[in-house]
């Protein structure tokens, strides 16, 4: 914002005219204007990167969520029946869109809690498309009740604090707490998938945490041996795998 103000005043000072009327003329005669400006902490707010003490931001939003779940004790499947999210976003500039942001973020949090899991093997995504990386459909989604809490922040336009990320932060904790309330099982990794819930309920080893790349063992018949001496390692890679390798995108006339 400061950089934009400096750019504007540079042009106005040079032409002595209104910016909107003179910027084209200025650009024709002088070319571009360059202004450098870097991030400055909000006045009075300090954060120490060495000790992690202080405030990183001048204003903090707060959020809470309550979830109601059904857990099938035979299959371990969780169905989120209802969820209420209350978010302190400062001031809702457009209340309907702000509610939509809260509802959308809440459902992303529910997906994160129940079904969404990035799976990796050899550092590559196993589920890099919507056929394999599942997100909630309208039938998986609970009805979401959003409550906008307005505690305006004096230092921002209209008192707004922000609403984009905040609603995603709490629903997963609410869903996991509801699963504990229903079954007595605390699930420690997300998503709280049937495998993880049944593992806790039956005291068996749960699947590994998400997002950790597993290594596919090479099959013995292509393992390096004396007869492969001198062959570069890359030549021993397994054949391309339709599930994991990037697929060619379709051109307009492919068929």
């Amino acid at each position: 914002m400061q950089a934009a103000a400096k750019l504007r005043s540079t042009v106005v000072k040079s032409t002595g005219k209104n910016f909107a009327e003179s910027y084209l003329e200025y650009a024709r005669e002088n070319g571009g204007v360059r202004v450098d400006q870097q991030f400055e902490p909000y006045p009075g707010v300090q954060f120490d990167d060495e000790t992690y003490r202080g405030d990183a931001y001048p204003a903090f939003g707060w959020a809470a969520a309550v979830a109601e779940v059904h857990v099938d004790l035979d299959t371990g499947e969780v169905s989120v029946q209802d969820i209420v999210a209350a978010d302190d976003i400062g001031h809702a500039i457009h209340p309907v869109l702000a509610e939509g942001q809260v509802e959308g973020g809440t459902l992303q949090g529910v997906g994160y809690a129940t079904i969404e899991e990035i799976k990796l093997a050899d550092g590559r995504y196993l589920n890099d498309r919507l056929a394999t990386y599942l997100i909630p459909t309208s039938l998986d989604a609970p009805r979401i009740t959003s409550i906008l809490v307005e505690e305006p922040f004096s230092g921002a336009p209209h008192g707004a604090k922000g609403v984009g990320e905040l609603p995603m932060d709490v629903p997963a904790a609410a869903v996991v707490a509801a699963i504990h309330d229903a079954t007595g099982a605390w699930v420690h990794d997300l998503p709280a998938s049937p495998e993880r819930i049944l593992a806790v309920l039956h005291g068996i080893k749960p699947p590994p945490p998400p997002g950790i790349s597993t290594t596919t063992p090479r099959s013995p018949d292509i393992a390096p041996s004396a007869s492969y001496a001198g062959v570069p390692d890359s030549a021993l890679d397994p054949a391309p795998d339709a599930r994991t390798d990037p697929q060619p995108t379709r051109g307009p006339y492919d068929g």
Binding site: V96, L97, E99, G100, Q101, E103, G104, G105, T106, L107, Q108, R129, L130, A131, I135, T137, S138, L139, A141, R143, I144, T249, R250, P252, Y253, D254, G255
Partner: protein, 160 residues
């Protein structure tokens, strides 16, 4: 060969390879860019259009399969010079459209639901749009919008 079809009430002739995706024919050959490509593999429903009143993923339909068919895209909900349709107005009013990538497909799935006499029941609406993924609204306002349009359509029918 040329494929003859009716798109949003107008007869069109498409001189394209038969396996060209309906999605590409609509967007690139006919300039109807309201229909969006999401996943391109029939998972997300963003490219939904109506073929003879049925919701289809236009990324999975080759042009040769719609020879002689009636196709309706999101542009057909509000032809040039006319006001927005009931569904579009209710999406605007309830906040059913956010980032917009799912909206054209949602509107078409909802249009098919309302055309089939669908009402305001939430479970039925959720089932009707179960093939259309939305990442950013949480579906709640989309469902409110469809219920609002269904109620208005039902009133309109009983009055006429």
């Amino acid at each position: 060969m040329a494929y003859e079809l009716n798109v949003n009430g107008a007869d069109v002739s498409l001189e394209v390879p038969g396996m060209r995706r309906l999605l590409d024919a609509l967007r690139e050959d006919l300039g109807l860019t309201g229909t969006k490509e999401g996943c391109g593999e029939g998972e997300c429903g963003a490219c939904s259009v109506l073929v003879n009143g049925q919701v289809v993923d236009s990324c999975l339909v080759p042009v040769c399969q719609v020879d002689g068919a009636n196709v309706m895209t999101v542009e057909g909900l509000a032809p040039p010079g006319s006001d927005l349709g009931i569904l579009q107005r209710s999406f605007l009013e309830t906040g059913g459209a956010q980032c917009g990538i799912c909206t054209p497909g949602m509107l078409m799935a909802a249009q098919a639901y309302i055309d089939a006499g669908g009402g305001t029941d939430e479970v039925q609406i959720r089932t009707a749009i179960a093939g259309n993924l939305c990442r950013c609204t949480g579906y709640t306002k989309i469902i409110d919008a469809i219920a609002m349009a269904a109620a208005e359509s039902a009133t309109g029918l009983s009055q006429s």
